[in-house]
């Protein structure tokens, strides 16, 4: 009985916790009143938006998400330096830009979105488009000697980890 009530109130406990956290960060002050207001929002928003987003993914491996985030943040720092070096020290005609096609093993829209975002934020690659049947990504590579190596790194470094998190 209690379990069922809890289930009705918090269909997505992670989303509720996340909304409370975002609310507290927004008001920048932790008081009981703010936590209460955050909880009200955290219960109301998932409930109201439920019909628009029926198959919400649930995350069962918080440690893997944390390690994925750390890897991505580290890669973003490296990406900045790589791109800065290309911009500063390479004449335009010596930059070897390529289009690469990354075949996808991921199925859920959320996972593909995260992968596309990660590719854009990390060294020398920008996601440009998805194929019409969502089986591969079109990625533009700023400067690469070997486009196939870039594709394999994306698949191995990011996609494999996302697959473990989402599926």
């Amino acid at each position: 009985m209690l379990g069922r009530i809890l289930n009705r109130l918090f269909p997505h406990p992670q989303l509720t916790a996340f909304l409370v956290l975002i609310w507290l960060l927004l008001v920048n002050k932790v008081t009981p009143g703010n936590v209460l207001l955050g909880l009200i929002l955290g219960i109301a928003i998932p409930g109201i938006t439920q019909p628009f987003w029926p198959n919400r993914p649930s995350f069962r491996r918080p440690l893997r998400i944390a390690s994925y985030l750390l890897i991505v943040i580290w890669d973003i720092c490296l990406a900045n330096i790589t791109v800065a070096r290309v911009v500063l020290f390479r004449p335009n005609r010596k930059i070897r830009s390529h289009w690469i096609v990354v075949p996808l093993d991921l199925n859920s829209p959320e996972a593909i979105t995260v992968l596309a975002g990660t590719i854009t934020m990390t060294p020398g690659t920008v996601t440009a488009m998805l194929s019409a049947d969502a089986t591969c990504l079109l990625v533009h590579c700023l400067d690469a000697a070997d486009p196939d190596a870039v594709r394999d790194e994306i698949k191995h470094r990011y996609e494999r980890r996302l697959k473990e998190i989402f599926e």
Binding site: I76, N80, V83, L88, I95, V126, A132
Partner: protein
């Protein structure tokens, strides 16, 4: 302690400034729309991130209050930057690039801006 904090804050601000500048310079210097996208999406993240971390340290050390707004700004930036880049890239491909200039998808269907799949077969919404 205060001196150390001052040094760290100034260093972060200078590094952030340099990267912010490089992002804008790259936008000018590179010669193709797709290449130009690379500079502002990346160099700017460290540019803005450095300023935000400096602000957090400043408020923690000199104003004695913990300010976490900056973390939220960073998160929003990380979410919005790739989406903006993707929109610009898609619009550019749609207007200025022919499908024959892109590598083939390797599957039955083409890229989402030029080809479409009937709704009943669509695994996810790619329009």
């Amino acid at each position: 302690m205060e001196l150390l904090a001052q040094i760290v804050i100034s260093a972060l601000l200078v590094i952030a400034g340099i990267f912010g500048f490089l992002g804008s310079y790259g936008l000018l210097k590179l010669d193709d729309t797709m290449r130009r996208l690379h500079a502002p999406t990346k160099a700017t993240t460290i540019g803005v991130g450095g300023v935000l971390i400096a602000a957090m340290i400043y408020f923690a050390v000199f104003q004695d209050k913990i300010s976490l707004h900056e973390l939220l700004i960073t998160v929003f930036l990380f979410i919005t930057a790739p989406i903006t880049a993707n929109f610009v890239a898609k619009a550019h491909l749609h207007r200025d690039v022919k499908p024959s200039e892109l590598p083939p998808t390797g599957g039955k269907y083409g890229w989402a801006a030029y080809d479409s799949v009937s709704p009943d077969k669509q695994p996810i919404d790619t329009d």
